[in-house]
Assembly symmetry: C2
Homo-oligomer: 261 residues x 2
Amino acid sequence: MSYPKTAVNKLGRLAKRGAYDYATVHTILNTCPVLHVSFVDPEHPFPVVLPMLGCTADFSNQDADPNDSPQDVYIHGYVSGRIFKKGKEAGDGDQGEHGLPVTIAASHMDGLVLSLTPFHNSCNYRSSIIYGYATLVDDPAEALYAMEKITDNMLPQRWAKSRVPPTSAELKSTSILRVHVASASAKVRTGGPSEDRADLKNEAVRKSVWTGVVPVWPQWGEPIPGNENGVEEVEEYIERWRVGENTKGKAAAYKAIEDGK
Amino acid sequence: MSYPKTAVNKLGRLAKRGAYDYATVHTILNTCPVLHVSFVDPEHPFPVVLPMLGCTADFSNQDADPNDSPQDVYIHGYVSGRIFKKGKEAGDGDQGEHGLPVTIAASHMDGLVLSLTPFHNSCNYRSSIIYGYATLVDDPAEALYAMEKITDNMLPQRWAKSRVPPTSAELKSTSILRVHVASASAKVRTGGPSEDRADLKNEAVRKSVWTGVVPVWPQWGEPIPGNENGVEEVEEYIERWRVGENTKGKAAAYKAIEDGK
């Protein structure tokens, strides 16, 4: 139930923090509020990096469980036609795969790890890196499927609770990319600080420098109605989601500390 | 006081959300807990993306204010020797610049923007993208300077309050990259939802779909002492920083809603 290790995704450094199973890789991506999508622009030496929204899904096997099946990644966002064409041409040559080669990064920070000396400071984090080939979705049924998935991945039920389906003009002007995953990996750091033996023997240091973890999570605050809002109370499914996310986020940040202790 | 617009950093889409001034670009980067550093691996079609820690600074002009001066970016992290060498060689050809061409992305999510229809959903966010040439810092004085900057950018005063200076073994095994910035830009979305005129006229929709913004910020929770901690109370400067970050983060998320209204 894992992505195979290849020359592309195999972790070199701190390999013991690595994970390749579908559940870990997909969950990190699907709970990350912003994805960073990176690809080569043949005209410049610097990769292009775009912050985008997206999630995993499988249009051809919609009942598949992302915890034990490979998935595609659907991304909502626009890539310049020039880059897309050039990058796709470059990608097409590669072993029968086709599309724009992209790397998708999703990272969560779970805590700041403070040790006796800056050299051993660290962070608790979870990070997924996915490598794949992006193509534009042009089948309207697949585009609709992806839009619903992306919307509800962010806020469950929002699709059905708002004005759908999109008009044909909306559908036409929404750009959705499907990334066929070539390989992927995750890296997870948990626990408290590690220390140097010499520092632990130094009582003056041990008695004066607090060590431990400051946990951190995304906190969703009380919603602010828009200028045109016509509903008095924030709908119950939104509040339930909001409070639930805060509870889960906090629990995950504290669990990360315990897990590695 | 801005990065010049060039073919590399000029924003194409939604250009009115763009900013190029030092203060905006540097502040977004310096307040972002995780940076995504991206560069080309000549052996694979996919860019390499690494989550790393870093901040802006200027070793040759240490009193410069990052709000009105160009800066370098110092990154704490390891890049494979193979990639560094190959990428550096490729980069060296480019107009007298030298180093590994990298793109650094720093993104903050400030809120989920909910409109009457999924097509108009959006996010409030702040994102900096910096393009530059990375070289390994080999001057020990500069490495020390960068380590202190990176440590205190995360948690002010931590450097001086913990066991410093690093031993020579620690200094030797710390890998610091200096990125000379070639160009940079920021993109900022604020405000509430925008709507389609037809949806606003549809009373059934307006009266049933809550619209507005759910703000979000990083919440730092109560610190958990490490197994070897020898200080009873969390030090005051840590608590002050923690509570201050929560207050600032919350205020920024709500201000983003007001700013664009």
